[in-house]
Each structure stands twice: as C-alpha cells, then as structure tokens.
Symmetry: D2
Subunit: 169 residues, 4 copies
C-alpha cells in the first residue's frame, strides 16, 4: 500500500518557502509517496508541482465546492465544501504530515495531527510553549531534504503501527 504524506502550508507563505516546498514534493514522489494537501496555491501548489515533476500522484482536498479552484498540479481534486473542516480530512488522509511555514490553518493541522496520533514533521513552522517552557511536540527539519526523510520514516512506522486508525472520539 502506498504511503500518503500530507503537506500543510499556507497559500501566501513567507519568501523562500516555495522553493523548499517544491523540493519536498519532488523527494516525496521519488520515495513513491502520494502527496495530499489542501489543493490551493502557495505551498500547496509548489509541493504538487515538485511531486508531479517526479511523476508522483497528488491529491487536493479543497475547502470550497468548485473543483476549478484547485491548483494545476493536482492528480485528483476533491472539492469538500467543508471550509477549514477539510484540515481534519487532510490529517485523517495522511500516514504522516509535514507542516511548512507559519499560517493558522497549518497550526490547526499540526494540532489535529498531534491530537489524533498522526506523526508531524515541522519545516520553518510554529513551535509551541506552555508556561513551563517550550513543548517538544514534533521533530523539526532543517531543510526540505531532511523533512522528506523524516516524514517518510514516520509514515512507514505509522503504517505498521497496529493502533493507527483508531477512532479519535
């Protein structure tokens, strides 16, 4: 069974992240993974462009109801009509996830993944703190190559984890 790697990232990311996202997509496709994302522009489009350039499959879970809103590099576009509700759908669709950059939608995907047991790898994204200090909730990669390695390993472990796929209620 294929690995499905989710990529969370903003439609209007900070400069420099698009190149990283494109490399990430290419490496994930080279490893044989299906790339799942929100299907929009920005980080989502760049990661899909990278994956398709390496012959990969990309899935976009769109927030709206019109498939034409998807970016041009989607193999499969699913217009969910769920708004930010598609963020949980992305998490549930992923064997592991990379969070790229600092949007609030991305933060929600990090949190939902941590809450439901889906492994997360960070790339230039949020870090979390409580009063007691920083909380080391997920590994952080220094660049896209490293993020691809970490997330593929995490997804392989997740796929063979007998407790994965547990209802999150």
């Amino acid at each position: 069974m294929s690995l499905y790697i989710g990529v969370a990232g903003a439609s209007r990311p900070a400069p420099g992240l698009l190149e990283q996202a494109e490399v990430l997509g290419r490496r994930l496709a080279e490893a044989g993974a299906v790339v799942v994302c929100g299907g929009g522009p920005g980080v989502m489009e760049a990661v899909c462009r990278g994956a398709r350039s390496a012959g990969g499959t990309t899935v976009g879970l769109l927030p709206g109801v019109d498939r034409r809103d998807g970016n041009p590099y989607l193999s499969v576009a699913v217009p969910t009509g769920m708004g930010q509700g598609r963020n949980l759908l992305l998490v549930r669709s992923s064997d592991a996830m990379v969070a790229v950059g600092g949007g609030f939608g991305t933060l929600s995907e990090i949190a939902l993944a941590l809450r439901t047991g889906v492994p997360v790898v960070g790339l230039a994204t949020w870090s979390l703190h409580l009063d007691s200090g920083p909380v080391d909730a997920f590994p952080v990669a220094g660049d896209a190559e490293s993020a691809a390695h970490l997330v593929i390993d995490a997804a392989r472990s997740f796929q063979t984890d007998p407790t994965r796929g547990e209802p999150d209620v």
Copy 2:
C-alpha cells in the same frame, strides 16, 4: 479538466448488480472519467475493478479512519472518518452521479445530489413518490452501458454550467 463521475451503491447489493457495476466502471474509464465512490465492497468494489481494468483512476471516500478498509481497486483512498457524512463528500466530488441499487445510503446520495444540483442517473434504484403520484426527479438507465452514456453527457453539461459549484447553503 477530467470528468469526475460518482457511483453510489451498496456494499451488499442485490444479485446481478455487481456485473452491471463492473461494466459501468469500465465504460466510465474508457470515456476518460475519474470514478469516485465510497471505496467499500459490493457495488463500490465492482465499479472500481471495472474502471481499473480499463486503465482508469478510482477514488474512494471511506467512512472510517483506516485506509486499509478500502477495496483493492482504489487508485486513491481517503479515510474521512465522517461515517455517512462522506456521502455528501461523494456528491460534492462528482460532476454527475450514477445511483446503483436500493440501499438507504444510496438513497441519501440521490437526495443530496438532487438538493445540491448534481445530475443523477439511476440504475435499478429507488423511484420517488409523493401523494400526487410518482416524481420524475432523475433519468433512469436500462443497463450499465446506457447509464455510462447518460452520466457522461450530464457531467459534461455540468462542467460547462456557469452556476455549478454554488454553495448549497
């Protein structure tokens, strides 16, 4: 842009429907359509088997959270964790839909498609009546070949309809 054809049908259909579903899947794939379904056994598996045998792409929107519950003929499996909530997701993902057989889940997909303006074609499925008599809400095909023709035509019209993709609120 590819046509996406939804196929609604039960996991334990009446005898004879599996052969019809497999032919339907093959014809849809030959027409270049992506086949979207609930990803389970029965009609869903048969239509995917047919589509894959013709080189097509199949998408399964699973009710649970475990991708391994999908049938073996899915190109892409999306575990939604939404239970019967994935029925609306199937409708929203479809440019037109074929309803096969007489399950209540299938009936819900017919109703949601009619409610949100997605064209429906029936194949050995429900007919609807009010006090005033039968309601002719969607065309009914006599066999799988005919259902494939009707639904592809309906999806083409839907794709070029400027009002499609309207929010259903």
Copy 3:
C-alpha cells in the same frame, strides 16, 4: 434525559403544511421533548413557533456560518457552516425524527436516518419504491397529532435500545 425529536422539512413547503408543523411542535414540547431542526424558515420556523408557544426548547442546526440566519423561535442556534452536511448532524442529534413534506433535503434526512437506525415518522412526505413495488420503510402519520404520538413512542424505544448510538461506519 430529555427526548430529542428531529423535524425535517422544507423552507418553502406546500400550502397547509405550516399549520401542521406548528401543531406538531406544540405537541412535542407538551410531551417534554427538545425539538431539533435545520433552524430555517418554512416548516422549521413553524415547528419552532409551536414548540416555543408551549414553553419548549428548540435547537437549530444552520447550514451557514451566521447565527442571524436562524428563525426567531430558536432557543439555541448552531451555525454549522456544513451546508447540507448539517442534515446528518440533525439525524445524529435525534432520538427519532418526523419528516414533513416533499423537499430533497428532507428526503436526504429520511435516508440518513434509515441508514443509521434513527426511527422516522412521515407526514405528507415521500414514499419509496423499488422495481418490486413500494417499500414500507417507515410509518406515515395522517396528521400532526398522530405524528407526535408516533415519534415520541419511537424515541422512547430508541433511548432504551442498547444498540443505539452505534458508529455508522
């Protein structure tokens, strides 16, 4: 624990149904039930007006994201932003449901209730047919008084059913 009775019905119903819906709401409230509906106009508003006139509690599960879209007779208004996805939420919130009139949204609620085991009572609504003839899937009431009695009894049985509340996946 209170009984929760769902009422499915159109925003633009056939003439005469509003009076029936108002009587239905009053009788449900007199029986101590919480009335759950889609929160909109038409049948939904009439059933809420009836329930509030008898001191009852009404809950509206709105399709959009703005609470101000709810009708004026809601005790609690929940803007779901789920469009027709709120129809399943209505079913899940109900110990039993009355379907009033002939809209397609109402038909989807009937089908989702039958699919997930929530008892349905019909009032001037759809009847279902397969090739083999009519399918007697739920009881039909002749008027609002009778619908109220039937649905309250069904909800009481459902509440004491040890298998209710099973996941529908």
Copy 4:
C-alpha cells in the same frame, strides 16, 4: 440575540484548572451568555457546572454519536459523530472563545478560531512562537474573572462586526 461563548479545554486538565473553569462558567452565565463546549468531562464539565449554577444555558457538541457521553451539566447535548471535527463546529458556534489549558484539541480550536476570525482569549494555555520569536496572536487572561470580561467584550464586538459570519473558504 444571546452571546454564545465557546470554551475549549481538555478532559484531563492540569490541577487547578477545574476551579478556574467553574468560575469562568459562572461569570459567563451571569453575563447572560450561552456557553458552548465539547460537552465532555474535565474543563468542559467544570465550566458547565459553573454556568448551570448561575442559571445559564450550556450546549455540548459531543465527538461521538451517543448523547449519554455528555456531562451532566448540559442544557442541550448534540452528538455530532464528527470526532475532532466537532472542534471546528465549536468555533463556528462561538461569538468568541476562551481556551483553557494545554491540550492539543484545545490548540486546534485556538488555531481554527484564529484562522476563521473568531476572537480568542487564553487562560493558562499555549503560546505560539515562530523563528522570529513569540507571536502575540490573542490576549491572555490572568484568571477566570478576567477571561470572562475579556471574552464577553470580544464577543460583543464580534456580534456587531459586519464582516463576521464570512465563509472561511
């Protein structure tokens, strides 16, 4: 129209938070607000107990499909069957939200609220950092009394904001 105040918080919170949550619930009810939460134990139960003790109305949006899983202090219990998908429903149901404590579910609710424009007040909860340093995304209250004041003010502003209720797609 009533103010609806969401309260996000864990079922197994850090010691001391339950007392704070109960005070928060009481103050919100005294201000006339409807309290919306996930309907479970822990922070959710404590805030409901406080609100009910002051005669308030409480709404629980349960992750599962069984109403009996709700805590005993709910005026209205809605079993959504959406798992962590109910977190977005909580955000959409709130004119403003208090986040109490440090769970990942709570973090997702903070993120979804920030993403969709619903005001957030923190109480002994997460703080957010990017590489460039701490991000001051929402006000933090020192105690429950202060959180109640801040969130009521924020909800009043939100209710009169002509741009609220915008689709988040």
